[in-house]
Amino acid sequence: MTRIDGLTILVPVDVSTAESPALDVIDHLGTVEVVLLGYFPVPDQAEPAMVRDQHGAEAAARLDAVAADHGGLAETLVFTHDREATIDRIADEYDCDAVLTGGSTGQSAGVERVLVPLRGDVNLDRILAVVADLLLAGEETATLFHAVPADGDPTQGELLLAGAVDRLVEYGVDRDRVDWRLSEGEDPSADIVALGAEYDLVVLGETEPSLVDRIIGSFLGGVVDALETPALVVRDVE
């Protein structure tokens, strides 16, 4: 596994509302590429072209304002029935490695501490590559985190985390900037949400939603929605 050369992240912004999102976090990430996606959610009932006719100019102005606030980002505006499909498509089009979600805390003074929950081998290579790029581009420290399943073996979790730390060091990250935590709590997602509050950014791996996820909502979606901290979701493109 090699490093991702030039990390690109996608930042989706809902341009249908007047309140501009708190995206301060992207100013603190160092030298990463940012693509701004302004999406306008169109209800099933409406024709996207109709909403564009009426709100296109306003939406474009909002998006321009956000882009200008953060130093003139690359931007694209989409009217969509399906936010997720649009994020996926645009992320593919611009070759984005990760997607940033805003979190609910608003202003952030800087990004110093990054939480990286790891679930297992799924998508692990890409998550670590993104974390490495992030750390090498900025000054953050990272905490790798793994929740051991109720009937699981803690040593396996330790092995996973230690291996991950080694990997980051191989990428050239200073070992001092990385530590790890193992949790044996009942509810991993609650642990992540609680712990996330102490951090400035959470980096999570995207996983293919299972059939259950599609029907009752995904684990990831639940965590990301509950997090107050901005989250960077690493795409699983393989």
Partner: protein
Amino acid sequence: MSAEGGELERTLGFLEAMTLGGGTMIGAGIFILPGIAAESAGPASAISYAIAGFVALLAALSLSELATGMPIAGGSYHYVNRALGGLFGSVVGWGMWTGLMFASAFYMIGFGQYLVEPIPFLDGRVFVVGLGLVGLILLLGVNYYGTEESSAFQNVTIGAETLIILVFVAVGVFFIDPANLDPFAPFGAGGVVATTGIVFISFLGFEIIATVAGEIKNPSRIIPLSMILSVVLVTILYVLVMLVSTGVIPFQSLGESPIPVSDVAVVYLGPAGVVAIVFAAIIAAISSSNSSILAASRVIYAMGRDGVVTDWLNVSHPRFYTPHRAIAATGGVTTILILVGLEVETIIALLAEAASFSFLVAYSLVHVSLVVFRRADPDDYEPSFALPRPLYPAVPILGVVLSLVVVSQMATVVVLIGSGIVALGLVWYAAYARGRVVNEGLLGEAIRGRPGEPYRVVVPVANPATQRGLLRLAAASAHANADGRGAELVAVNVTPVAHPSPFQNVEADRDEHQRDLLQNARDIASEMDVTLRTRAVVAADVGTAILDVLDEEAADEVVLGWDGVFDRDGHRFGATVDPVVHEAPCDVSLVDLRRETVGTPLGLVAEDANAPVVAHQAVEFAAVEDTVPTLLTVQSPDDGGDTDPETRGRAVVTEAATAAGLDPDEYEVQVVVADVDVGQAVVEAAAEYDTVCVGFSEHTERSHVPVGAVTERVARDVAGTVALVRGATAGGDGTQ
């Protein structure tokens, strides 16, 4: 899709399109109508469903082509409006809108019937209508406020509904009593056709796929596939349901039931089957009614966009972004239609038939529109799915004929209602829309045949010293070929750039240095009575860019400047010119301007395919200074025959001139007799002319660009302006 306005996400794949089309179609129609159908056609009503399905399939085929040609909102209304103009657009728009409301009211009353019957105490018409209204109001509420994405839920319910019908059919087949199917058609063919008009409503819904064409991924594949497949599958399903229903229960008793399918199911599936069927019927009614309300609002939106109705109706809600006014208007009228059910006992059949009428009229006009689009062939109509040869024109012709046959068998009252709606469309157009609707339609162009495309001459310009002369010659060419269809000059300036980006074209357009050129070109164009357009292109390769422009403009001729130098750096005429001369699909004139004046042109007529083009070109150039050109041919002194060289020469020239459509008084003839050095003779004869037209010789020496020895000699040694000419058909790979 401009970057400025924002993109529109295409979110519907094949499965979504199928569920959308199928889910809308499998509605109250199949749960309510088997009773009415059996009553009026007996077991043969299965054939009515098959005919209705076939009529729908024809419409689906025509709509598929139109939808892939113009994937924007509006469906049938939009195509008819474009093709046949605002008058028919208004008729179809109003027809579809009212038709969808009839359908929606029909679905909701059916919904009421299925809910009421299983609960015996709550009987009666008032209750049915009341339930229908409650259902409608809920739907309107949901649509007014907008929903979070619910496609997963929809897929599950539509899947369940389809599964229940499949079980109904699969099990029911074993319970068919052949005695019930005899006589198969107690009311004869007339009954079967008349029933087709009633059950046609069961097929409304496939069109929604065309209506949302702008949101479908890979539209060229998925639109035709999902439309055709959903109609075919649903037809088969309906025919089977009808056969099972009339096979299990005698059609007379089936006809008396307001909930026929459930009555059939109870025979072999028991109470559980009834619950399942009621569940499916309710789901089907809701999903169909919902789609109809949405489709109606989209039709209104498209009509507002085109100015057929006020665009007050298609404003989206400031907070929910739903087309709330269109939905409210649709809901209001639908409510009234449902309430009519309190008074009219046969409301179900009436609504079904009226909706069918509207759509049959709309689809006949869609078929006509397809023919109009094919004949007028407007620039922006490039369907990625086109009906292949035997299907076109068979599909549109059969479609119109069958629609009319079905309509003609409908009940008088329905024909009156339907005609009233058509009249409403006509009156509306006359009273409201006529002044505002800009769209004239393509009908005129279609009748006239190929549209009046002007004769188009493309002139790539780069060198300020020669552009004036080139534009003058090109304008003369265009003018001479106008022939009543108009002449157009397209001046193209290509700026070569190593890595072109799409934005640079815009910048180049505004470039300062082009102003003089444009002014210059405009003066010449107005002088010669041709219209002028200018294009600025930024491209990596100039030659390729010019070929692209020729293709896009469907040019008739290209006039290229050339410096008269042969064979330089491995190119015959030059790196830019070679590919154009070689591949241009139109007439090519390669001009080396050596004199200011055009004077009296000389056309060198050889005995080859280019001769008529050369003759014509000479006449065209002569028009610049209003002279009569000379057409010259060279003959050997003694060709062994009896005729003298002069006679032979005149025959050659006359033949070429006739082929070019020239009158004898449009040119002079000169025959030069030379034996050995033809080139020298021509050069000497050409000395007194300011302009010489000569064909690229056909008998090539396998060079990349064919130029004969005489032609090359002329181009090298003649003092006047030289134009090398080749016809569109004499070109290299560009032969068309």
